[in-house]
């Protein structure tokens, strides 16, 4: 198994190097687009996770973990907490659980922003998906090497 991973082709390696930043950008685009149009945290998270998995196939375990810098399991934890936070905003402001709340912000450069709890929830989902898919993939790859 280990040999298979190492002897991956030059083409895959070169392509993975190029694709990784592009796919991560695409995943962010999908995440943000999900606010009002098809897209969202789940599909965005899957794209990000598969980008890192592709990197793993092209190179090795350590550099795939290096791309992440954090333990995927903590990503799951943070993501769950963020999603729960989005749900709790409702009750904190006198509404029911998961009630949508929005604020309008004016940020220099970006202009007028219409931000709400759904996007926060989606960010949480994004992190959970990236974390859990990578935990699975890395665990599988590690048992394969062991």
């Amino acid at each position: 198994m280990r040999r298979d991973l190492r002897s991956s082709s030059v083409i895959l390696k070169a392509a993975a190097q190029l694709l990784l930043p592009l796919l991560l950008l695409l995943s962010l685009f999908l995440l943000l687009r999900g606010h009002h149009e098809p897209g969202g945290g789940f599909i965005g998270g899957l794209v990000a996770a598969s980008a890192i998995a592709l990197h793993l196939f092209a190179t090795d375990m350590r550099s795939a973990r290096g791309v992440l810098r954090v333990d995927p399991r903590s990503l799951m934890g943070v993501g769950l907490l963020v999603a729960l936070l989005a749900g709790i905003v409702g009750p904190l402001t006198g509404g029911p659980l998961l009630a949508g709340r929005w604020v309008d912000l004016t940020v220099p450069i970006l202009g007028e922003l219409h931000l709400g709890t759904p996007i926060l929830f989606d960010v949480g989902v994004y992190l959970v998906v990236v974390g859990s898919v990578l935990t699975f993939v890395l665990t599988l790859a590690e048992t394969g090497e062991g």
Binding site: M76, G77, G95
Partner: protein
Amino acid sequence: MSLLVALPFLIPMVAGSVSLLAWPSRRAQRAIAVVGTAGQLIAAVVLLVVVWNDGIQVLAAGAWPAPYGITLATDLLSALMVLMTGITGFAAALYSLPTISSRMERNGYYPLMHMLLAGVAGVFLTTDLFNLYVWFEILLLASFALLAMGQERAQMAGALKYVVLNLFSSAMFLSALGLLYGLAGTLNMADLAVKLPALDDGGRVTLVSMLFMLAFSIKAASFPLFFWLPASYHTAPVAVSALFAGLLTKVGVYSLYRTFTLVFTEDVPWTHGWLQVSAGFTMVVGALGALAQTDIRRTFAFLHVSQIGYMLMGLALFTPIALAAGVFYFAHHIIMKSNLFFLSGVIYRLGGSYRRDELGGLWTARPWLSLVFLVPALSLCGIPPLSGFWGKLLIVRAGVDAGSGWLLAAVLVTSVLTLLAVMRIWADVFWKAAPQDRPVRRAPLPVMLWVVTVGLAAGTLWIGFTVEPLWALAERASAQLLDPSAYIEAVLSPELP
């Protein structure tokens, strides 16, 4: 405050995610486990008090009214079940502290335990069949991982059967959901209860309900699809098998109780007739299986199957007293059975085996522990005045009222067989002299094991000696199940802010 309804699963979710973040520190994870499960228990107690005083509590997530939004609701049955989840979860967390290996702790034991508890509480609180499916899968995924965690031969073999049968049951559940949605256009249980009687469907709903019954029966481990349970429960670490024994099959039984009182009451003689058959066979076959075992945990697992039969019988007879007896049995059984699994772990610590023939001498070496063991064991057999006696008495009375002779015969046969199985454990493990090569260990037991087992035994004694509070609760819960109009109204027209 409507958020209260969601707290029993929000608290373990928060605890689970914080526990994931605290991954490197085992001490932090253990502290979170105790605090998180205690929090769930407290929330459950408050919820039960509120439901008892103020009636059914409803939470419409995001202020989207049912049937369009996700609605959570608790009647007394739900609240009681959530309380039992809290008790079992807290007990399992305490028991885990001195018993779970550091390897399992590093592999994510505590986050998975929180996930399991959140899933179980979610099942008890949801009003929507599809959400029921989602909560089921959450708790199943956690239970798969907990079961397979040790990675020993027996665990892998047990886990495989458990996983395959439960995945099959989930697929059947999902198929049934699809068909029901096609027929009724909704999956909110209160909405279904209103719409299904108006549907001129020529028995198709009853047909779909049988598919639901199949799916839930696998999860409840009732005859003939129970064999995954004795194959897997005894392979897990003790705290895990106690947690499973307390809760996992109960979610299946609870789902049957909920759906076959609220939604599928179109053809009661037919559907509940099948439940009666299943209940009778589950009792007898489980008890017979228990007699054939030498491993005490396997014996308890088979007796567990047998008692699922009693709970099903309460639902199958479908009279007020039968349902109340079933609910009573539910509550008593969770406390008693998880305690027996905890105690079998203690026995293993002392005797170094789970096999009856390799154990012995516990009565002379550990008289106090033996007395603690006697409480749930005699309660399991139904010896007065312990909780099991009242549970059985009430079920027998319900059977007499309903004039169901052969089910009564099954109950009586099962009682004798259960007594026999338990007395064999007592005679071999406690009375028989310890084998020469395996003397009972003298080392003191960790305090937590005493706290958990004595605490749960006290619970069993309390239910037994003051029957009235739990029986009153069960009767009111049964009345709510048989006349679901209050539940339906609460779910379909909640007060929105």
